[in-house]
């Protein structure tokens, strides 16, 4: 038994760390302040092959494993959570539905650019009246002649309004239940609302979407009619491992920044790290980071082995995102007043951490999934 990542994983980690340090870190605070989505850097992430890691070479992918994707997301997230979620959502919510449920025509049409990171895909599941309760989807799609006509609205959709967004996969109610559709960006009748004013993830792109008689060709149905609900649940399992990796990056960054500060900052005649009140908090944090790492990469390993991941993904997501919140709270405390200032990165990590416990299934939903897997009679 071994818990070491491979040499390839480590080389990828070194590469993404270097890329993030050179191309992202110097600008992260500025992008955050101005809510700027850095299209050129996302494209550069594409050139590194990050959006294609897990996809087959046939569509230009790298044929790599899910653990590699987690390494990349963790390392981006260690520097800038917005760039981490842009990759995570671009792969897990953008390209993955087309890869998993599309036919070869749909894959050939959309995947090459999504895999290259020269375009981004989005996934519209959440609605103003239904997030956790995604089965309550109200958006409707009706087959009229050889076109689907979509009406309704979606809320909080990542990557749906960037300059390079190519498609939005949308779930909608049809005669058979809930189905999924590929809606190309710019389709008349699909209105991308102005960007949200968010607490964090300022450099990540998030909009609501309104559909008014939005018409798409019949062949844009993704997967079988009525299977949309079950399909997106399995998409979310993968996404949860990716969010766990993103949270791990945040927690690790907060730990590293705090360790550094606790040795530099002096009070009462010596470094603040010598106070047990801080050092024990950092010890606990180090344990949480280690646990988050192990849960994340265990879940990724199960996925790479083709084993069931539902429970492992929920556990990893639940634990790592709560660890990220704890880490952000401890880090801002270690930094004292400076932790409250936007000039220190921990303030940004603090604002960025909260969404981790909400997106791709709230902590409550993870606990519900875990309880159900334990055989408890949850409703």
């Amino acid at each position: 038994m071994s818990w070491e990542l491979s040499d390839d994983h480590e080389m990828l980690r070194a590469t993404v760390r270097d890329f993030a340090a050179q191309e992202i870190a110097p600008h992260a605070a500025e992008w955050d302040r101005t809510c700027h989505f850095p299209t050129d850097v996302v494209r550069a992430m594409g050139e590194l092959g990050l959006f294609g890691i897990v996809f087959p070479e046939r569509w230009g992918g790298g044929g790599g494993d899910f653990a590699s994707l987690c390494v990349a997301i963790e390392e981006l997230g260690r520097v800038d959570q917005s760039m981490g979620i842009t990759l995570s959502a671009g792969v897990g919510l953008g390209a993955n539905p087309v890869f998993r449920f599309g036919d070869d025509d749909q894959r050939d049409q959309w995947l090459p650019e999504l895999v290259a990171g020269s375009s981004l895909g989005a996934f519209g599941l959440t609605e103003p009246d239904g997030g956790s309760d995604a089965g309550a989807t109200r958006t409707r799609a009706e087959l009229v002649g050889d076109e689907w006509v979509i009406n309704g609205s979606k809320a909080f959709i990542t990557n749906c309004g960037t300059d390079i967004t190519s498609i939005i996969t949308v779930t909608a109610r049809t005669a058979d239940g809930i189905s999924a559709f590929v809606v190309p960006a710019g389709t008349p009748g699909m209105v991308i609302e102005p960007a949200y004013d968010k607490l964090g993830w300022h450099a990540s792109d998030t909009h609501g979407i309104t559909f008014v008689d939005c018409r798409i060709p019949a062949e844009n149905l993704l997967g079988q009619p009525g299977k949309g609900f079950r399909n997106f649940l399995s998409i979310l399992d993968d996404g949860r491992i990716a969010i766990s990796a993103l949270a791990l990056g945040s927690a690790r960054a907060c730990l590293e920044l705090s360790l550094d500060y606790a040795q530099q900052r002096h009070a009462f005649g010596g470094p603040i790290g010598r106070f047990q009140g801080l050092s024990f908090q950092l010890s606990d944090l180090a344990v949480q980071v280690e646990n988050a790492h192990n849960l994340t990469y265990k879940a990724a390993w199960l996925k790479d082995q083709g084993r069931p991941i539902g429970q492992a993904a929920a556990m990893a997501k639940l634990y790592s995102t709560e660890a990220a919140m704890d880490a952000a709270r401890v880090a801002t405390q270690v930094f004292g007043g400076m932790g409250f200032m936007e000039e220190s990165p921990v303030a940004r990590f603090y604002r960025d951490a909260k969404i981790l416990e909400i997106g791709e299934g709230t902590s409550e939903i993870q606990r519900l999934v875990i309880a159900r897997n334990l055989g408890l009679p949850v409703e």
Binding site: D8, A14, E47
Partner: protein, 255 residues
């Protein structure tokens, strides 16, 4: 167009290094990485081969314990293959011995148009290996290249000097040392990383190369701490102090 790049694998400069007290040389038994100052040579070689429309970039390296981590990075950037000389008898070898070994290693790679090296490594800093290598191979040597171009079988180099640069030409094959920072080394792509592990690394000993009786004359007799930095000069501003600053910068030849 075939280019060989000499790359050194060094202890990670981000970690505290340690000297071997018996030889006064850097301990190299941990994991080694590609010397950043060689990543410029690798990038330049890849660009030259692309510009020539064909050929490949090969690597030669000398490192203990069959270390390939740094080579894998350069292979992931796009180099095609490598010769690694790894031999306990070479531990602590001086610059000239290194140059002889590297020269023999380049010969294993057959015909070559150009050999590129960094001007100096980031751990040893002797800055003499490229010229010694050229001498051993009997090839022309150009140092401190900031740009390298090849036209009609001739090498054209802009050679960095204190005052500016010299334009130098010379016939091929030749050995060129490349100044750090003159090109933007590419990041290895994910596909490059995946491909690197199946690229050939020919691991050989000094004897395999026909380099006999390895011994060297150079010895590092002692190592001292660098003198602590002296206090700077404080200039009181009397309204004319800019003259002193100009004079100071002028003495440094930076303006």
């Amino acid at each position: 167009m075939n280019v060989i790049v000499c790359v050194k694998q060094i202890p990670d400069p981000a970690l505290p290094g340690e000297l071997d007290p018996s030889t006064n040389t850097l301990k190299r038994d941990g994991k080694l990485i590609l010397d950043e100052s060689d990543s410029y040579g690798v990038e330049m070689a890849l660009q030259l081969v692309t510009a020539a429309g064909g050929g490949e970039v090969s690597l030669v390296s000398m490192a203990p314990n069959d270390e390939v981590s740094g080579l894998r990075t350069a292979l992931a950037m796009g180099a095609a293959k490598a010769v690694l000389v790894s031999d306990p008898s070479l531990a602590g070898a001086d610059a000239l011995t290194t140059a002889k070994v590297l020269a023999a290693a380049t010969k294993r790679l057959g015909d070559v148009d150009l050999i590129i090296a960094g001007t100096e490594s980031s751990d040893g800093y002797t800055g003499t290996v490229p010229e010694q290598l050229a001498e051993v191979l009997g090839l022309p040597s150009i140092t401190f290249a900031k740009t390298v171009e090849i036209a009609d079988g001739t090498l054209k180099v802009d050679r960095q000097t204190e005052a500016g640069y010299d334009e130098v030409t010379c016939p091929l094959p030749a050995v060129v040392s490349v100044t750090a920072g003159v090109v933007e080394p590419r990041y290895p792509s994910f596909k490059g990383i995946m491909a690197a592990k199946s690229k050939p690394v020919d691991t050989v000993t000094a004897a395999d190369l026909g380099v006999e009786s390895v011994s060297w004359a150079q010895q590092i007799t002692s190592v001292e701490d660098a003198p602590a930095r002296e206090a700077g000069e404080v200039i009181e501003d009397d309204g004319e102090s800019f003259n002193k600053i100009v004079e100071f910068l002028d003495n440094l030849k930076v303006i």
